[in-house]
């Protein structure tokens, strides 16, 4: 375990304004004496930051605005869903504790209130999904329904370019082992048919010339996942670690 001493909050602005040797660039960090912790495992936060969806993680100064407004935490009352804490655990590399929330993290509904309100410009929603991906790739995290849905959704749209909503519904419900009662299915099918909305399967919309673009994206998707996993093993992987 490398012993690292680092400031948890880093500045990622390039412009600086100094007058007589004093930094007056107005960056909020200027007013803080940054807390420094030692013996951190920085491999998690380094990986999160290397991902385009997670690159803002180091701006976080732990104010908790994200959690205070989070609809899952506050409105739904899921107190263990705490984006501020997830980011903290990733920053200090407390993987063992972070892993407890491997499934909870995927319950984020992507309402983006946290991103909207973050005073430091952290893309919280994307950062915590990246933390979720980290936990998934490094093993041990059970697949979550939301993650399965992301994959079913992407697979569906890559087929024709346009989403086949009815087919996505059927496929996903089957994945979760749920079946809609036949009567209800018929009723809904009839209502959609009557209003000209039963465009599914062979009748579904498709994007002209999609095959070529779809294939390129499919390859890209695979390559991206390969790269993300490879960058993790190149970093030497991580082991459970308590500060």
């Amino acid at each position: 375990m490398p012993i690292v001493e680092k400031s948890l909050v880093t500045v990622d602005r390039s412009e600086r304004l100094e007058i007589e040797g004093i930094d007056v660039s107005g960056d909020w960090n200027t007013f803080l004496r940054s807390r420094v912790q030692t013996d951190l495992d920085v491999r998690i936060v380094d990986w999160i930051r290397s991902q385009p969806q997670g690159d803002t993680i180091s701006r976080c100064w732990q104010c908790g605005t994200c959690t205070a407004g989070c609809c899952l935490h506050t409105d739904y009352g899921l107190s263990e869903f705490n984006p501020r804490y997830f980011i903290y655990l990733a920053q200090v590399g407390y993987e063992e504790e972070l892993r407890k929330y491997a499934t909870t993290i995927w319950r984020c509904v992507s309402c983006n209130k946290c991103v909207e309100r973050c005073p430091k410009g952290v893309k919280v929603e994307e950062v915590i999904h990246t933390i979720g991906s980290y936990l998934e790739f490094t093993g041990g995290a059970p697949e979550s329904p939301a993650d399965r849905f992301d994959r079913a959704y992407t697979e569906n749209l890559l087929r024709r370019g346009v989403l086949d909503e009815a087919s996505l519904f059927r496929t996903y419900e089957r994945m979760e082992g749920r079946t809609m009662p036949a009567g209800e299915m018929l009723k809904m099918g009839f209502q959609l048919f009557r209003s000209g909305r039963l465009r599914t399967g062979p009748l579904a919309h498709r994007t002209r010339g999609w095959r070529r673009f779809g294939n390129v994206l499919r390859e890209k998707l695979k390559e991206d996942e390969r790269c993300r996993r490879a960058s993790l093993s190149a970093a030497g992987g991580t082991g459970g670690h308590s500060p």
């Binding site: 509904v109 939301a146 996903y172 979760e176």
Partner: protein
């Protein structure tokens, strides 16, 4: 914080990105939006071979794919010579604006353009701004022209305006609150003003205006999706609303898809008809209940409206 997002030049006829929902379950939204635009003398030019924008799902799997999907649509709009893209779905507005944010970085733009070229699509120069159809109507026609177009005021209808989450959020992508013509991110009011102009009583203090409907997990987290949908309807009931007006097909479909579960968990009295705002506007502009396609909605606003004397 950024000083707003430059919306660049405006087009007299911007490009229109329908998105999957408006060609699918949200057909009533598509049809009535066209009726409303037509009556207001506005037009949009449809991006013909558009593709799904990837919503909030694809980005969890791959950044580049989640940017390339919307970028292809924005590139198509640019190849039509447009600088403005109007979308009717909050999810689409979010992901199109997010792609714009991503390609502002030259390295990303280079990578995305290589992907677009490889896939046989035009490349994207990053110069198409994105607007929600509500913002477009508000900016181009505004409450005054809407009021002038009303043939049958929605007198006696109390409406809860429901904007949902991604209409303005996050401002980093949408420019909300800091860009001229964009709505307020915390207290949006464009929908209130347009529906008021239609003669409806609008609950401007509706507390569930911008809460999440749980639509991101409409199927993958039923507890959350049902609880959030129910809280929107419950707030509407508490505030005395007859109807809930939505501006997002996912919000609409998510609430209506869970009506049975909401009824089972919270009781019949919570339920309210849920309609697209363009359906109400079209009704006010003189369309019949059938023409405004109210029967498409699973919450059956057609029955309610007929009981209130709207034919």
């Amino acid at each position: 914080m950024s000083a707003g997002i430059s919306r660049g030049p405006t087009d007299s006829v911007p490009a229109y990105y329908p998105g999957c929902s408006l060609d699918g379950l949200g057909k009533a939204y598509e049809v009535t939006a066209q009726q409303v635009l037509h009556r207001l003398g506005l037009s949009l030019d449809r991006i013909v071979d558009y593709n799904c924008c990837g919503a909030t799902e694809v980005k969890n799997l791959s950044q580049d794919v989640s940017v390339a999907l919307p970028a292809r649509n924005l590139a198509l709009a640019r190849s039509m010579g447009r600088h403005q893209v109007v979308a009717a779905c909050n999810g689409c507005v979010y992901s199109l604006a997010r792609a714009n944010d991503a390609v502002r970085e030259p390295a990303t733009r280079g990578r995305i353009n290589a992907t677009l070229e490889e896939g046989g699509a035009p490349t994207y120069d990053g110069e198409a701004s994105v607007q929600h159809v509500l913002e477009f109507i508000h900016a181009r026609a505004g409450p005054e022209r809407v009021r002038a177009a009303v043939r049958r005021p929605l007198t006696g209808l109390t409406v809860a305006p429901y904007y949902g989450c991604l209409y303005t959020r996050p401002k980093r992508y949408t420019g909300a609150g800091t860009t001229p013509g964009a709505d307020d991110p915390e207290h949006p009011h464009f929908l209130d003003e347009l529906l008021e102009a239609c003669g409806a009583k609008v609950l401007t203090d509706f507390s569930a205006k911008t809460i999440c409907c749980g639509g991101g997990h409409a199927l993958s987290d039923l507890d959350v999706a049902v609880a959030f949908s129910a809280s929107i309807l419950n707030e509407a009931r508490r505030a005395g609303a007859d109807l809930v007006a939505t501006i997002c097909p996912l919000g609409q479909i998510n609430i209506e898809n869970h009506l049975d579960r909401i009824r089972a968990a919270y009781g019949e009295e919570v339920l309210r008809p849920v309609v697209y705002f363009t359906q109400l506007m079209s009704l006010a502009f003189g369309a019949s209940v059938a023409e405004a396609r109210f029967r498409d909605n699973f919450s059956r606003p057609d029955l309610f409206l007929r009981s209130r004397g709207f034919a």
